[in-house]
Symmetry: C2
Subunit: 342 residues, 2 copies
């Protein structure tokens, strides 16, 4: 929207009135004649930034061959390692370990029961020895029995006090500034942005809305079973100690198809858990964008890919070129890594 | 947004320029000084219309004791019997029966296999004798094997040709005009509207977006199992012949908690399948709205409640007053029933 068509020749007096109106206009829609600010200032110029900008331009140019209607501009993002830090361990795991320690006084049996016993004794090797089964057992012990609303509050409280062991900052400050800009840039261009993460959805809902500007209903994750009960006339939904759905690998496209009900046109991940999501997204007809964040910056964050317990990237590294995906180098593509503090 | 503050004293010439600008302004935001048109013109004045208007005013009045931030203005709607006709049978069932007839030539075994045999012979009593198990068997036979995108197209094609047996109009024209107005009224007041229906979600996604203005990602329903496979390098999500989740009764609050991740502040239904959804919604703290559509208009639509196979309402009738819910009379509260033709 511009004043040009309406007021071709302005006297000073009319200009003042028009200027006041233009303030009002600017408040409701961006003026296309204004010089376009860089929407991705934390990204270095290069092939990856260009790929994003070209894609957005292509799918939003009305009449263009790649145009996509706003309702179909669905973009999906993995969370751990794609939008925020996932080393030295998934933040959800850090929460679970803290929560088990906090709940321990109410569960005296944990003193003799693995993997709780090792955790409470500070023996992390013992915890690791319990493997995935032990981790899930701890997760369910930490996350069951309450309503999802109560659990969100517990997570929110934890987020206020817990600190990342290396960066000494709250975990929700350790989101990647370039990805935050990308989320906002896509939304400013009519995209609807979704999180599609392996983490359990209720944990994410304890902090995600203010951090990424993504509402609960656009967060997809692994799901615990829920129960609905009525006690003394009071209806309640409670979290049960059982996993209903794992939102990882094949689970990601399945959850997207079931819950979003549309194939995304853009997908962002960082590990092989995101492979199928990118594969399904970019195999759709029309222009698509798939990108992987590569953790290659040991100085500012971490460097890992094929050989790590959290966020392993091997298939993606081997195949990203053949699949036509972009590989984002944290080291080379990003001017800064973390968003500024709150 | 108004021009008043900027241009208190207008000359004719300036007025012309300002008028042109006001057109531009009007395009981006409603002017609060304009007289408020009735947002629910198909509703007769009365307690139910007033209840809706009072609720919306209460939760949207900034600074008021009942104010709810826009992000938490979640309203959920059942579909069958709440937003559109569900007699003489659920529209999904009409689709399934037509689809089985259409697919029959590819399934010669159905000629000797119940309930397919009865259906193909036109023996509806035989179909009914197969009970719920038989219906689900037919549903899965009608709705499996394709991708959800292909299935949406099949449903869309059917919707173009199938006609309701009594009203002789396409099913997607048999939505309730007063409820359509209610959906728009809530959205105009910052609500996000969701469908939470017992029907399978992929069937609904074949027609809902243009009909109700509700995008796929805000449609929750019963879910079939999906599979993700890669064949000759082509990734695919396909619908399996198995039900994963039934979105009815206790299932509704569970699905809302899992997928929306927020307790709604308003819920609308018409049958006992919606009871728990209304119960959970209205038990939340702060101001809430629960309403049931009562089918009491045999002349313009249908009259049924306690004694029907589709949309039984007994618990709701017995308890709506004690629960503080509104009971909408189609006969008395609605000036018109159906939305005008396309």
């Amino acid at each position: 929207m511009s004043l040009d068509g309406f007021m071709p020749r302005l006297t000073r007096r009319r200009w003042l009135a028009a200027a006041a109106l233009s303030v009002a206009l600017a408040a409701c829609a961006p003026m296309p004649s204004a010089p376009a600010a860089d929407p991705l200032p934390s990204w270095n110029e290069g092939a990856n930034k260009q790929r994003i900008v070209d894609f957005v331009k292509a799918v939003t140019t009305a009449g263009g061959k790649d145009y996509v209607a706003p309702g179909d501009r669905i973009a999906v993002f993995d969370n751990d390692g794609t939008l925020w830090v996932e080393h030295p361990m998934y933040t959800q795991l850090a929460f679970v370990l803290d929560r088990i320690r906090q709940l321990a006084p109410q569960h005296p049996q944990w003193k003799t029961q693995e993997p709780f016993k090792s955790l409470l004794a500070g023996d992390m090797k013992g915890v690791q020895a319990a493997g995935e089964k032990g981790l899930i057992e701890m997760l369910l012990a930490a996350q069951s029995g309450s309503t999802p609303e109560e659990f969100e509050r517990v997570v929110g409280e934890w987020m206020k006090t817990a600190k990342h062991p290396r960066f000494k900052r709250p975990y929700d400050e350790l989101t990647y500034q370039p990805m935050q800009e990308l989320l906002r840039y896509l939304r400013a261009n009519g995209f609807k942005t979704f999180i599609v993460s392996g983490g359990t959805v209720d944990l994410m809902r304890g902090f995600i809305e203010p951090v990424y500007g993504i509402p609960n209903e656009q967060v997809i994750g692994s799901r615990q079973k829920f129960a609905f009960t009525v006690k003394d006339g009071k209806p309640m939904v409670t979290m049960l100690p059982a996993i209903e759905f794992i939102d990882d690998k094949e689970g990601k496209p399945i959850a997207i198809a079931q819950i979003i009900g549309k194939r995304p046109i853009a997908a962002f991940g960082n590990s092989d858990g995101d492979f199928q999501m990118l594969q399904w997204t970019t195999a759709g007809s029309g222009r698509r964008l798939g990108m992987l964040v590569h953790h290659d910056d040991a100085v500012r964050e971490y460097a890992y890919d094929r050989d790590t317990a959290f966020g392993r990237l091997a298939d993606g590294l081997d195949q990203y070129q053949a699949m036509g995906w972009g590989l984002i180098s944290m080291k080379n593509d990003w001017k800064v890594v973390f968003a500024p503090g709150k």
